[in-house]
Amino acid sequence: MKKIETTIENLKKDIAAFYKPELQHFMVMNAVDLGEKIEVQWFFSNYAHPCETICFYALVSPETEIPSIRDIVESAWVAEAELVDLMNIKVENTQKGFVLEPDFESGPLRKKK
């Protein structure tokens, strides 16, 4: 797995420069609760270079709103909606209630303090 660090400010620019639908395959988003920060990850594979997994990641504070990449990767809305519910992070233009009921306790995958 090749990890590429990015920032919230540069995320869309970095992914737009990298992602070509005919070359790269967007797999999923993930987040790891590190305590003070959350590591948000965007996973891609490459049609032309088998076995290569590319992970863009950004360290963010839990209150930060993550920009949506759905204008670059159309199918990313599913992964973004899942993270909003399961990790209780904010993603641009994404409402709660896709994975869990809207009144369910948010962020079951976050570490309990």
Partner: protein
């Protein structure tokens, strides 16, 4: 412009095996818009794997993510754990994992095909396909001990060996299955009524498949040659046992049926090659290490690319486990592919997606 109606299907509906909900906006019987809700069965499995269970127990937990492709989950998890433990499993264990994955693919593809037939109104074909599928369930039971949810792959290798008499039985049953598969291929390919229902229904183009990151038979039916078995030689030697990519071009329900049927021939060949060349070695690599670092694994489950991410922290319990099921990748395309189709075709189109919501919602 005609009057628009909203018609829901699911979460419980006679044509759906899985708890998913589609809301179709229709105009003169044509679907113009689709909304989907696929999360009725979230069970918190990822959370349980990172809190309640030790990493060696997790392979048994993820085997319960899905009844149909549990071998894909247990194998993908075992592989990602082995990466974190930095161990190589014995060659015989790799071959046996591939054997069970392919037997599983046979029963899963036949199940999907039977439901497409049923939802297309061809119940006799549904019964015939299910009848022919039974041999694969019996073989899985003979190899693994269970008809479903077989805890065959474990961290470090496999839990059971293949007995010579079971290997012989697999070869004999596969030989009997080939003419049955020929018969199914003939019906799914040439039956006039079925082709009326399936040709052109729920079609996506190769460009759509790339744009929406579609995986599995859904993508291959549209001509997008994506199959993890073609890529991950480092973990399981698929090409060594005769893997071949199968693609079609029309991207409709018909093409998905044909891709699945053609893949069954490939699975048969792979299983025969595995049994004929099964290497002698131990079944498991022992280690006392704890998982450390991050790793990812991709594996071709019957419905497409299964992705596991794991992070270890040198303790018995994982820091994070992420599971991405094939249906999850296909949700975006599933909603788009209905547009322009007759509402009456929706059940067959849904069945042809082969959606698995147990996997998707976890």
């Amino acid at each position: 412009m005609g009057r628009q109606y909203e018609i829901p299907i699911g979460a419980q509906h006679i044509s759906l095996l899985e708890p998913l909900h589609f809301k179709f906006t229709t105009e003169n019987e044509k679907i113009v818009k689709t909304d989907a809700n696929v999360y009725y069965v979230h069970r918190g499995i990822e959370q349980a794997c990172c809190s309640k269970f030790k990493f060696r127990q997790v392979s048994f937990v993820v085997g319960r993510v899905c009844g149909l492709c549990s071998i894909s989950h247990t194998t993908a998890y075992s592989q990602v754990a082995e990466k974190l433990l930095k161990i190589e499993i014995p060659l015989r264990a790799k071959y046996l994992r591939m054997l069970v994955i392919e037997l599983d693919r046979i029963h899963s593809h036949l199940l999907c095909l039977s439901h497409v037939a049923e939802n297309s109104g061809f119940e006799a074909l549904f019964m015939k396909t299910m009848q022919y599928r039974e041999f694969s369930m019996e073989l899985l039971e003979a190899v693994c001990g269970n008809r479903i949810q077989y805890d065959f792959s474990i961290v470090g290798g496999v839990a059971r060996d293949l007995k010579p008499q079971v290997a012989q039985s697999i070869m004999e049953r596969l030989k009997k299955f080939v003419p049955q598969l020929d018969e199914l291929m003939d019906i799914y390919k040439n039956n006039w009524t079925l082709s009326l229902k399936n040709k052109g229904a729920g079609a996506i183009t190769k460009e759509d498949a790339m744009r929406l990151n579609v995986v599995g038979p859904f993508a291959r039916a549209a001509g997008l040659a994506v199959d993890v078995r073609n890529e991950t030689e480092d973990l399981l030697p698929w090409k060594e046992v005769g893997f071949e990519m199968v693609t079609e071009t029309t991207g409709d329900v018909y093409a998905r049926n044909i891709v699945r049927l053609r893949e069954l021939y490939v699975s048969i060949r792979i299983i025969e090659n595995i049994i004929n060349g099964l290497p002698e070695s131990a079944l498991i690599t022992e280690t006392k290490a704890f998982p450390d670092g991050e790793a990812t694994v991709r594996l071709e489950a019957p419905r497409g690319e299964l992705f596991y991410y794991a992070k270890g922290n040198k303790t018995q319990v994982l820091e994070r486990l992420k599971i991405k099921a094939p249906t999850f990748s296909n949700v975006a395309a599933m909603t788009e592919a209905f547009t322009g189709n007759e509402y009456g075709s929706a059940p067959a189109i849904i069945a042809s997606y082969d959606p698995c919501l147990s996997c998707t919602a976890r």
